[in-house]
């Protein structure tokens, strides 16, 4: 118990070190553009935590990243690099959107679940192709999923700007431009926001914060993924194949089957990434649909060390950074490019610090194992096992 306390302190020290380091590098960048770093940081914190709307905005912004992180982390667990969450969520959102505007007259409790299922099916479909290529032909999933991303962008464009272009926008002929979007999703398929719910606790969230129930679904899903990986036989197979597919074969695990199944589940989760924006905020699919969540999801998963619960926290960190970035832009007048640099520096230093930390704990672990072997039969430390992986 004693060393656990020490570990905990070390973790805090490392993380703070990382944040301080990031702030230091960030200060140089901020000074370079002629601003005072202290006032900039101050206003960023004030903006993100001193305003009633920012907390809701952070949670809303982290919602898609929870799904993205989970999708990527799950595939990482089985040793596959799903770079294709990006394309999978685009296709998922496309499928959800089509079901969302085309099925009329359904009550919400049928329509909404159908739309969510369509999203998952879309993501799964887009994961199926690379998964089959992987297990049948041995094609490397990084290459195939990246290519599938490009195809997904183009497929969505074809549907949005051509096949299903919403023509019901009565523009005067020749003047201006219509929105390039599909028809609006029906009310019965929209995800309700959490205003009423937080209202019960006396919290009044501004109307323009689109925090919706996908945030809660995301957290529940994180718990489910955690249980899947650590508490089920299939999860054991995932971990075994992820660590050594050949060794797993010798103990009777069919690694190809495990690959296929895990990749499909990862794709289905990825299909949910875009739905918080689609069903909770925007309400239609357009050429401007938010991009990049799939890629950010990789960073989220790495930061969380592929731990499902860690994904939630890492996603919140990203949500915080993004909200802070908006404040820096709009209030401190920091250009977008500098904001992007700052975000990059912060993420990089935290990743480096966490790697250093992991090494430190690994060596500590080994020391302890040796000691415990000397003293007596050790009691298995499950937490330790998690850290080693």
């Amino acid at each position: 118990m004693n060393y656990k306390y020490k570990d905990w302190l070390m973790q805090i020290a490392f993380t703070f070190g990382a944040i301080l380091f990031a702030m230091f590098i960030g200060s140089l960048v901020i000074m370079f553009i002629g601003k005072n770093p202290i006032t900039v940081y101050q206003s960023m914190l004030q903006f993100t935590f001193g305003r009633s709307d920012s907390i809701g905005a952070i949670l809303f912004k982290s919602t898609p990243l929870i799904f993205a992180g989970l999708a990527v982390a799950l595939s990482f667990r089985v040793g596959l690099f799903n770079i294709g969450a990006e394309g999978q969520y685009f296709i998922g959102a496309l499928a959800a959107s089509i079901v969302g505007f085309s099925l009329q007259g359904l009550p919400w409790f049928i329509h909404l679940p159908l739309v969510i299922l369509a999203g998952m099916a879309g993501g799964m479909l887009w994961a199926l192709i690379p998964a089959l290529l992987k297990v049948k032909r041995g094609a490397h999933e990084v290459i195939t999923t990246i290519m599938m991303n490009y195809i997904a962008y183009s497929v969505v464009h074809y549907f949005v700007a051509d096949l299903f272009l919403d023509k019901a926008q009565n523009l005067p002929k020749g003047y201006g431009s219509p929105m390039v979007r599909m028809p609006k999703i029906l009310e019965s398929a929209r995800m309700p926001t959490m205003h009423d719910f937080v209202g019960i606790f006396g919290v009044e969230m501004p109307r323009y914060i689109y925090l919706n129930w996908f945030f809660v679904i995301g957290i529940l899903l994180a718990i489910a993924v955690y249980i899947l990986i650590w508490k089920t036989p299939f999860g054991m197979e995932i971990r075994a194949v992820g660590q050594n597919p050949h060794a797993s074969e010798t103990v009777g695990i069919q690694s190809k089957k495990v690959y296929l199944k895990t990749f499909l589940i990862s794709g289905a989760i990825a299909g949910l990434i875009g739905l918080s924006d689609l069903l909770g905020y925007i309400g239609y699919m357009d050429t401007d649909f938010p991009r990049g969540y799939g890629f950010t999801g990789i960073a989220v998963a790495l930061l969380a060390n592929n731990n499902a619960l860690g994904v939630v926290l890492a996603a919140l960190l990203f949500g915080f950074l993004r909200r802070g970035a908006e404040g820096l832009q709009a209030i401190e007048q920091i250009p977008m490019d500098v904001v992007v640099i700052l975000e990059g520096v912060i993420i990089l230093s935290i990743v480096v610090a966490s790697q250093l930390m992991r090494r430190y704990f690994k060596t500590q672990e080994k020391k302890r194992e040796k000691e415990s072997q000397k003293t007596s039969a050790s009691d298995g430390d499950k937490e330790g096992l998690e850290n080693v992986e």
Partner: protein, 359 residues
Amino acid sequence: MLALVLVLSLTLLAGCGSKDDAKQDAPAPAPTGEEPLKIGLVFDVGGRGDLSFNDMAYAGLERAKLEYGDKIEIEYLEPAGSGDNREELMRLLAQQGYDLIFGVGFMFTEHIDKLSKEFPDVKFGLIDGYIPDLTADSNVVSLLFTEHEGSFLVGAAAALKSENNSIGFIGGMQIPLIQKFEAGYMAGAYYVNPDIKIQSDYIGTTGDAFRDPVKGRELALSQYQRGADIIYHAAGASGTGLFEAAVQTGNLAIGVDADQSLTVSEAQRSHVLTSMMKRVDVAVYNTIVDLVEGNFEGGYHMFGLAEEGVGYAVNDFNREMMADIVDELEVIKGKIIDGEIVVPVDMEDLAEFKASLGN
């Protein structure tokens, strides 16, 4: 584990943050007569430095600042890479008590529609986007252009100047707005020479298509190789690749939105035949002037050929090149303004237009 610590540290940081000062989310006080008017602008994808659409909007903002100095305060923002925080950025400006906020591009349509209701005291300028049922009392002015008419003229110019009877078009994304440029350009070329060969390519299927000079260059090279000797682009910052290709192959290019002869490098200048001017700068500037003078009106402002809102550029660098065709272009321009020529706005109209030329 690590992440748990992260959150702990974040909450700690939060503690520091809230200690700092009093809250600042109180709405800014309404501007009094003496205070400068605050004017904000949020760019479309491509952002500042595209030497085209966004930079034109900025030019209008800058000109107003030069002219009105202390009377106005300006601020411009660029949305994050994927553009998904447009609405949030605009809202933050509105919350800070900005008086007039521009959204550069039709992608702002829905956001400005929402925000204008949320902030009835803030004025909004929407470029290229159409919100139905605006009136003079609305707090939104929709600034609309007839890009197809301007494109018709540069299409005619290209056809008149082409030696191979072969020209090209490069668009950013295949969307109705850019197809307007394409249809107008092709119609203008066919009007002059019904047998002309026109190649057309689009750069991409996401907003990135408007900031991909490498792809712009590749497409241009390939069109030049297949015989085109003049290429017109409507691809924002990707268009810089076209000018490079024009120099490399010794052909001509036509710029868009801004008078691009003025912004390209010296070596490229002699390769820019003309530019299709879309006077976003005038639209922005006029709207600011209206606000400062107290004449702001909501509704729709149309910028067509007659209003000089669109047109072709003649400057010190291309005057010689254009000298032999300007007269003819002016005649065509007159016909469009008089309604004698109805310029097609999309591919369907173009087919009809082309058929009507046969007779």
